[in-house]
């Protein structure tokens, strides 16, 4: 199919689902595959806004390393996907632009914050999309949209060109309906990059098709989840046993401290990352130049940051203030080490820790707007721990509720053990019937 046919089809699809912030391009028959990327990855030729009005008009001078490597491998970037502003959200509803709609029910969320990427992966044929996870932003939308999604170890994929949320937490991952694409493209985007020092300490990513032979299921993870998720998850455990995987329930009480620690660290870092957006240099710059710089900056930040961005800036500024820094920020760093230790203890006896991905299926938009910020944050209690620990994790579709909404489970392996996850996704896909959403155009 020519680029023009594809683009006109994309246009129709996007008008229904709203997954793209910007799309387009020209390509030839030499193009080996098409991919999309979350809009917090910088890309030449596309506006890059990270879901924020404050970046409207920003056309980066450089490609993010992950995008550049996909292009070098023969890929064509066809669009930038909608997301929560700077990644701040669970439902992509905090986007300053369009909110992507769930492929299985247009009245529901795609999840977030890589909601547009999950939507594109679920709706477009043979598609792979680059997502970014800080506290669950790949596995959550993969779960809600019924796709596979992998987040590699922190430092596996260069973050050069990633518009930062929390630098010590951000990880670039992949979403696709086809697990083989995860195995194919993860090695493409992985590897050392001198432009990101945190990518330069990794051991090589070896695809050796090693299998997960035993999983630990924390009892804490099946408390406080919906009945439909519990049932699908329990059935999935049975299927895993029939595949020859040992399943053992364990206690991981440390997991419950992950969420508060995560929000302290993520917002502390975010509040410093967002300091640079002040209407100078890039993005919107159309303010009143007669103001003093303090007032000029304030006017932009007041006008163009969304509510959730402001909330996280305030939270993060508070937790790193003189006098509170030790009580919050320094303490959260300690808790993070505790969570890592808890995982390491499980990995002595098991290849992976397994939990449901989200505690419920994708909610309807009207239910989301009724949620308080704390209820909203709590939805991430299962995806936050591996993100805080920097351990690789994978969402596999594992069931559907009575309305046909997808349910996912999340495998977590030890640092640098992505190979185990890739093998699991392919093995699982052979015996579980993954449903594809009916595309409405």
């Amino acid at each position: 199919m020519s680029d023009r046919d594809t683009l006109s089809k994309l246009d129709k699809i996007n008008s229904v689902y709203g997954m793209f912030h910007d799309f387009g391009g020209e390509w030839t028959d030499d193009t080996e595959f098409l991919f999309s990327a979350k809009d917090n990855l910088t890309s030449k030729g596309f506006e890059t806004c990270a879901g924020s009005r404050i970046l409207e008009g920003y056309r980066p001078a450089f490609d993010a390393t992950a995008i550049a490597r996909m292009k070098e491998a023969g890929g064509q970037l066809i669009g930038k996907t909608n997301m929560d502003e700077f990644g701040f959200g669970t439902f992509s509803a905090n986007s300053a632009f369009e909110v992507p709609k769930n492929p299985f029910d247009l009245g529901r969320s795609c999840g977030g914050s890589s909601g547009g990427s999950a939507c594109a992966a679920a709706v477009l044929e043979d598609h792979v999309s680059l997502g970014v996870s800080t506290g669950g932003s790949v596995c959550c939308p993969a779960s809600f949209c019924g796709t596979y999604g992998i987040v590699p170890t922190y430092g596996r994929v260069s973050r050069y060109g990633l518009i930062d949320y929390g630098n010590s937490l951000d990880k670039i991952g992949l979403l696709s309906m086809d697990p083989a694409k995860l195995s194919e493209y993860l090695p493409v985007i992985s590897g050392k990059d001198p432009k990101d020092p945190t990518s330069c300490v990794q051991p090589e990513l070896r695809i050796e098709h090693r299998r997960i032979s035993s999983v630990a299921v924390p009892r804490e993870s099946v408390e406080g989840i919906s009945d439909s998720v519990k049932k699908a998850f329990t059935d999935a455990l049975e299927s895993l046993r029939s595949m020859g995987v040992d399943v053992e329930y364990v206690d991981m009480p440390q997991l419950k401290y992950a969420m508060p620690a995560y929000y302290v660290l993520a917002t502390s870092e975010a509040s410093t990352n967002l300091a640079r957006y002040c209407g100078m240099r890039y993005g919107r710059q159309d303010g009143d130049l007669s103001l003093g710089f303090d007032d000029y900056f304030t006017s932009f930040r007041t006008e163009y940051f969304g509510d959730e961005a402001k909330r996280r800036i305030l939270l993060g500024t508070y937790t790193r203030m003189e006098g509170f820094r030790d009580r919050y920020y320094a303490k959260a760093l300690q808790v993070r080490m505790g969570v890592i230790d808890a995982y390491k203890a499980q990995f002595r006896d098991h290849d992976a820790v397994l939990t449901p991905t989200m505690p419920f299926v994708s909610p309807r938009f009207e239910d989301i707007s009724a949620m308080s910020p704390v209820e909203n944050y709590k939805a991430d209690f299962l995806t936050i721990p591996p993100n805080l620990a920097g351990t690789p994790h994978l969402n596999c579709p594992c069931g559907y509720d009575g309305d046909g909404m997808p349910i996912g489970m999340q495998f977590v392996t030890d640092h640098w053990n992505e190979d185990l996850l890739l093998t699991m996704a392919e093995d699982w896909d052979r015996q579980f019937e993954v449903r594809h959403a009916e595309v409405k155009v």
């Binding site: 910088t42 001078a61 973050r159 640079r276 890039y282 710089f293």
Partner: protein
């Protein structure tokens, strides 16, 4: 009175601290910039290893305990010249802590810490009242050296800064011609409360700002007033300090660790970095080791560390007395030209060898040294030396009071001879030649 300084020194790396932009003078504003030093979204820093090495060298020079593990922090504040609104600096675990510098080899000035950070850009006000920002400077590596309030006067502050800068330049090889700016924040208290004068450029201005501030505080206290703790700025043109925004002083920078750079375990690197003896330390050592006057030692070292090294060479070959006589005399006088020509010291040493053997007389030795060091023919050097000596001798014969005054300890008496010779020879001889010859001849008459 207590004075403490925070001294900022640009480090002479070829590229910036966190990106590969050059640090050389730029042809126009905002030309030595890239996504990293402009803080473009998605860009991130990579540490220039050489900046770390310079930091280690300076920490060692200051006698600091050098960290085995160090990392960077983010200091958040909003100002147009700070491209990320976040400065990458060091907060906990700086590169060095707890050092001491001996001013003139005697008075200890304690060093609180030395840390590395990036320079912001520059803001320039236009005539129309708006501001322009130039980010060429953004990301140039800086070392910040913080002293304890051990300095007792503005003069001492200047003296300390001069010694510190000479030591820094020598230790990390900042060329003398490439005058890099030294900026400091000066803290001063005459009574109990202190004021900080921010961002003063150069030694002279540091002394001026401190003196102004000292007088201002004394006046307030004498009038029964109270010093208010505040941040002040220095107006170079008018030579006064004035109150800066109080808000700035209250700022809470909300330091967190810089996650993009990680933790640096540098024990091996620290062990592998060695530093040259600093000029200040060398001065002290020469003075005590060879029993020479501290001023003479300082003169040697400040002329050139190479000259001081040559002095040691001569002392070990022919004894201290000869070294003092020849190196602090004629060799010093010709050293500048000698270094400009760039040659080895073997030939110079050989001339002194001939004198030690008794092969040549002291006059011949003076002439040969000049010839060997400046490249002039022996006849030319002889004629010059001869002429010069005649003029000086003639003037001294006519004015015997000069030698008399000099003998009584008024060393300045020789200045009138120097002035006369300079005037009457009209630039024929270098001032160092004249000074050397006058000193030599006057001393020979005592």
């Amino acid at each position: 009175m207590k004075i403490g300084l925070e001294v900022h020194v640009q480090l002479p790396t070829r590229s910036k601290m966190f990106c590969s932009c050059p640090t050389t003078d730029a042809p126009a504003p905002n030309t030595h910039v890239c996504p990293v030093c402009l803080g473009m979204p998605g860009s991130r820093p990579v540490l220039n290893r050489q900046a770390l090495v310079y930091g280690i060298m300076l920490a060692k020079m200051l006698g600091c305990k050098v960290a085995d593990t160090t990392w960077f922090s983010r200091k958040t504040y909003f100002y147009p010249d700070m491209s990320k609104s976040v400065q990458i600096t060091q907060y906990d675990h700086p590169i060095g802590e707890g050092g001491v510098v001996y001013l003139n080899g005697k008075k200890p000035i304690r060093i609180t810490r030395i840390h590395l950070e990036e320079d912001p850009g520059k803001t320039r006000r236009t005539a129309e009242g708006s501001s322009l920002v130039d980010y060429n400077r953004s990301g140039i590596p800086l070392a910040e050296i913080v002293t304890e309030p051990d300095i007792a006067s503005p003069e001492e502050a200047r003296e300390f800064l001069a010694q510190l800068i000479a030591d820094i330049k020598h230790t990390i090889d900042i060329p003398d011609d490439g005058e890099r700016s030294i900026r400091c924040d000066c803290n001063i208290s005459v009574g109990k409360e202190r004021c900080e004068v921010k961002n003063v450029t150069g030694l002279k201005n540091a002394e001026r700002a401190l003196r102004y501030e000292m007088v201002r505080q004394i006046k307030i206290l004498k009038a029964g007033g109270k010093i208010e703790r505040e941040t002040r700025a220095f107006d170079e043109e008018r030579g006064i300090t004035y109150s800066a925004r109080k808000k700035e002083f209250e700022a809470d920078y909300g330091y967190i660790d810089e996650p993009d750079l990680g933790i640096f375990r540098i024990k091996e690197l620290v062990d592998s970095v060695s530093i040259k003896e600093s000029p200040a330390k060398m001065t002290q050592r020469l003075s005590s080791q060879y029993g020479i006057d501290e001023k003479k030692a300082k003169q040697l070292v400040s002329t050139s560390v190479n000259l001081a090294q040559f002095f040691e060479k001569v002392a070990s070959a022919y004894g201290t007395q000869e070294a003092v006589r020849w190196v602090i005399g004629p060799v010093t006088a010709n050293w500048k030209r000698f270094e400009e020509r760039g040659g080895g010291t073997e030939a110079v040493l050989a001339v002194l060898g001939k004198f030690a053997d008794g092969t040549i007389t002291d006059t011949e030795c003076t002439i040969e040294l000049k010839s060997v060091m400046t490249g002039e023919s022996a006849a030319e050097a002889a004629a010059q030396t001869d002429d010069l000596e005649k003029i000086i001798s003639g003037y001294l014969d006519a004015n015997p009071q000069i030698v008399e005054d000099y003998r009584k300890g008024n060393k300045k008496a020789a200045n009138s001879v120097i002035g006369h010779v300079m005037k009457s020879t009209g630039g024929k001889y270098s001032s160092s030649d004249i000074v050397e010859a006058v000193t030599r001849i006057v001393e020979s008459r005592i």
